[in-house]
């Protein structure tokens, strides 16, 4: 057992750090530091820079465009990117459907879709949840009925992040309802430009438009875009969910945020001293830092391939619960820094084209926005209540 990086790994870390310093656009960095929301054009610009460098999909196999890194290198890379303040690119193509396509898709699907995911030419969204199927995902009802070379799709998906920006949606659809609910599900890729698809925005409590409801009315989807076999979509769906949860720890981002919290709390007045020195705040900040260490070393332990006596992938359930709870307590620490200046809030008004500076200190700006959005993290990707059920059932066999 060895905690330290090899000289090669340190060289790699320096390479990533130097490249980031030279290539991460300063205007994006400034927006991230000010807590501003990044829209598709900004993210796409960053994606193209990374794609040109060949660093866009660290976990993909080399034959499909991955850089061929070890898991330690991937860890170093993710950490350096986050510490430099680089924004996360949407996971739907790069981390979700991409791996499904190269693992379960046919040659034609791989040839067509994978390069377009890497380049950003196709943006994806995820058609999993339905109004009646949240935690009980397998009860989904969106139906795909065979009609010659096509399926005819009817139904609705909800909480679809980025559907308004997406070119394609990967959908779980019901192709059979005679057996167990998990057995009649298929994994279908659908072009968002197909007639019969309607995207309806859902405004969430921070005033933002990120999620949508997507309606399918007699949507004709070619069968050539079915992944794997009909009625076996649940297997691919679960594979994807594990990937989704694997990325959820976001240790690098949390370190970056915690560093900001510590810096700002040390510069914030409270009771004639500094907020960072207030006993209550100091204790919570330290507890948060300890929780982050525990998360980081749990991730490293799981990543390093240490043999465990349970099914592979199930650590992700534990990481999801721990990481989202930690993220929420960090956002509360941020709100405390902002104090009264967490109140001013124009999230419900269109700010585009406005040159007005924020009310109060600039760093207070994103505090409430992130705090409110962050309440979703213990709900999405399988609520934390569901994760605990899985942990009890699969890991503890009870």
């Amino acid at each position: 057992m060895d905690l330290s990086f090899t000289p090669e790994e340190i060289a790699f870390q320096n390479e990533v750090r130097a490249w980031m310093a030279a290539n991460f656009p300063a205007d994006l960095r400034a927006k991230v530091e000010a807590g501003e929301k990044l829209y598709k054009p900004d993210l796409l610009r960053w994606q193209k820079i990374l794609a040109a460098k060949g660093w866009i999909a660290p976990a993909w196999p080399v034959e499909y465009g991955g850089p061929g890194w070890t898991s330690t290198q991937r860890y170093i890379y993710a950490n350096e990117m986050a510490l430099a303040g680089a924004p996360d690119l949407p996971a739907f193509g790069l981390k979700m459907v991409g791996p499904v396509i190269y693992t379960y898709g046919n040659e034609e699907q791989k040839r067509h879709f994978l390069p377009r995911i890497l380049s950003g030419e196709d943006w994806w969204c995820q058609g999993y949840s339905e109004p009646g199927s949240g935690s009980d995902l397998a009860s989904l009802k969106t139906r795909a009925v065979s009609d010659g070379d096509d399926y005819i799709v009817n139904g609705s998906k909800i909480w679809t992040t980025g559907a308004h920006d997406a070119d394609w949606i990967f959908c779980l659809v019901r192709t059979d309802d005679t057996g167990k609910k998990q057995d009649g599900i298929s994994f279908l890729l659908i072009d968002m430009k197909t007639p019969g698809i309607e995207v309806s925005p859902i405004i969430i409590i921070n005033g933002d438009h990120t999620v949508n409801q997507v309606f399918f009315t007699d949507v004709r989807a070619p069968k050539k875009n079915l992944i794997g076999k009909e009625n076996e979509g649940w297997t691919y769906a679960k594979f994807l969910l594990v990937n989704e949860r694997n990325g959820i720890a976001q240790v690098g981002h949390k370190k970056h945020t915690l560093r900001r919290i510590r810096k700002l709390a040390s510069a914030t007045d409270m009771h004639g001293g500094r907020l960072a020195d207030e006993p209550g705040y100091q204790t919570r900040l330290a507890e948060t830092e300890v929780a982050l260490m525990a998360l980081e070393y749990s991730e490293l332990r799981f990543l390093s391939g240490q043999k465990t006596d349970h099914a592979p992938g199930t650590e992700a359930n534990m990481m999801k619960v721990a990481a989202t709870q930690l993220q929420q307590s960090m956002s509360e620490l941020f709100i405390e820094i902002a104090g009264y200046y967490s109140f001013p809030y124009d999230g419900f008004r269109d700010k585009k084209g406005s040159n007005e500076p924020p009310v109060g200190p600039a760093e207070a700006g994103g505090a409430m926005f992130d705090f409110l959005y962050g309440r979703a993290s213990t709900i999405y990707g399988g609520s934390n209540e569901i994760q605990r059920d899985v942990i009890a059932k699969v890991l503890l066999s009870i």
Partner: protein, 374 residues
């Protein structure tokens, strides 16, 4: 001992609940937050006609001589309905400051009629929750005063006709003496406002005072003795906010229980799952304890014993902060994705509770106050 409401208080509660149920709520909030002032002048008139604007004032001021418990009866109903009208800032805070300072019953009459809206500028960017941390200055100039400074996040500071501000007439920034209160007209030369919406769907403003000249009668109470008035205003406001939070928590508890009984997953209502049943039992316990502490604050906020008053008010604010956070966050969680939407009312109550937790000092601040008094 009797901790139940009197017949009059029950009538007041019922009438206030009828009013908010008919007029307020999340739909009203979504409509109002797009409006210029963020609330309804017509509702304000109705509230005057119902006598609510007269409630806490003495009979010789033209008021109804209500107690803090009476105010809490109203505020709890306002919390239940997400009422947006500036009752807290005009009646509780502004009216409370005028009453404590004395000598301006003419203005109290205007409040009662519904013709005068007030706001109180007590916070400053550097001060956080310390009322005595005042960098704004007022210097004597002939008969009157000239005021310079920046007042932060003044609730309803955009629509108020007059604004009461704290300013330093002597001493250093964090001295407890030397603070005076002044009342300023909205149109005063040199008073610059920057108005903005707040996260709960209401409105506030930054006030910049650039050599604002006021007359001698703008001084409220004695020169240099403003802090004790501000402390009284703050404690009354905390007491009222605690009641408002209790009203909001009750809605969240009821809504969540109702939702989990109707939402089905895995072939049964999710209310059948033990983990959710226990969560809702905890929400109820938090609500009940918050309600008790809000009552303690109302019963003791006017106590002559400063230690008793401090422990009751700060203790209530701590409990409301913690309970409100738990009830608000769990209500969102148990509603799942729906709880995150602007469309449902849950998120609006959650946001108001989040703001109440911070207003006039968060949990840490009041734990410190409580310890210092104990």
């Amino acid at each position: 001992m009797d901790l139940s409401y009197s017949d009059e208080q029950v009538m007041l509660r019922d009438s206030a609940e009828r009013f908010v149920d008919a007029n307020c709520g999340a739909d009203n909030l979504r409509k109002m937050r797009a409006s210029e002032e963020g609330f309804s002048r017509a509702y304000w008139k109705q509230m005057a006609e119902l006598g609510w604007l007269a409630l806490p004032f003495n009979e010789d001021q033209g008021g109804l001589g209500g107690t803090a418990v009476d105010t809490n009866v109203l505020m709890e109903a306002f919390g239940r309905g997400l009422l947006l009208e500036p009752y807290l800032t005009t009646v509780v805070m502004g009216g409370g400051a005028l009453t404590a300072a004395g000598g301006r019953d003419d203005l109290i009459g205007e409040i009662i009629e519904g013709n005068l809206l007030l706001a109180v500028g007590y916070a400053e960017p550097q001060a956080r929750f310390d009322l005595f941390d005042v960098a704004t200055t007022a210097r004597k100039d002939g008969d009157g005063w000239v005021i310079d400074g920046h007042k932060a996040v003044v609730l309803h500071g955009d629509s108020a006709d007059k604004i009461i501000v704290s300013a330093r007439t002597s001493g250093d920034r964090r001295d407890k003496s030397g603070i005076s209160l002044f009342i300023i007209d909205r149109g005063a030369a040199g008073l610059e406002r920057r108005a903005y919406p707040t996260v709960d769907g209401s409105r506030a403003a930054e006030l910049f005072l650039n050599s604002v000249r006021v007359g001698a009668n703008a001084l409220l109470g004695e020169e240099g003795k403003g802090l004790s008035i501000l402390e009284k205003v703050s404690d009354d406001a905390i007491t009222a906010l605690c009641a408002e939070a209790v009203g909001a928590m009750k809605v969240l508890l009821d809504t969540t229980v109702e939702y989990t009984k109707t939402r089905e997953q895995f072939g049964q209502p999710i209310a059948k799952f033990q983990v959710l049943r226990h969560r809702m039992a905890d929400m109820m316990m938090e609500y009940e304890q918050a309600k008790s502490m809000a009552l303690v604050a109302a019963l003791k906020v006017d106590s002559a014993d400063p230690v008793e008053r401090r422990k009751a008010v700060s203790g209530a604010k701590v409990q409301i902060g913690k309970s409100g956070r738990f009830v608000g966050q769990q209500a969102v969680q148990l509603h799942g994705g729906m709880g995150m939407t602007d469309e449902l009312s849950v998120g609006h109550y959650f946001k108001r509770l989040t703001m109440i937790d911070i207003l006039f000092g968060n949990v840490d601040h009041h734990l410190k106050q409580f310890s210092a008094a104990a």
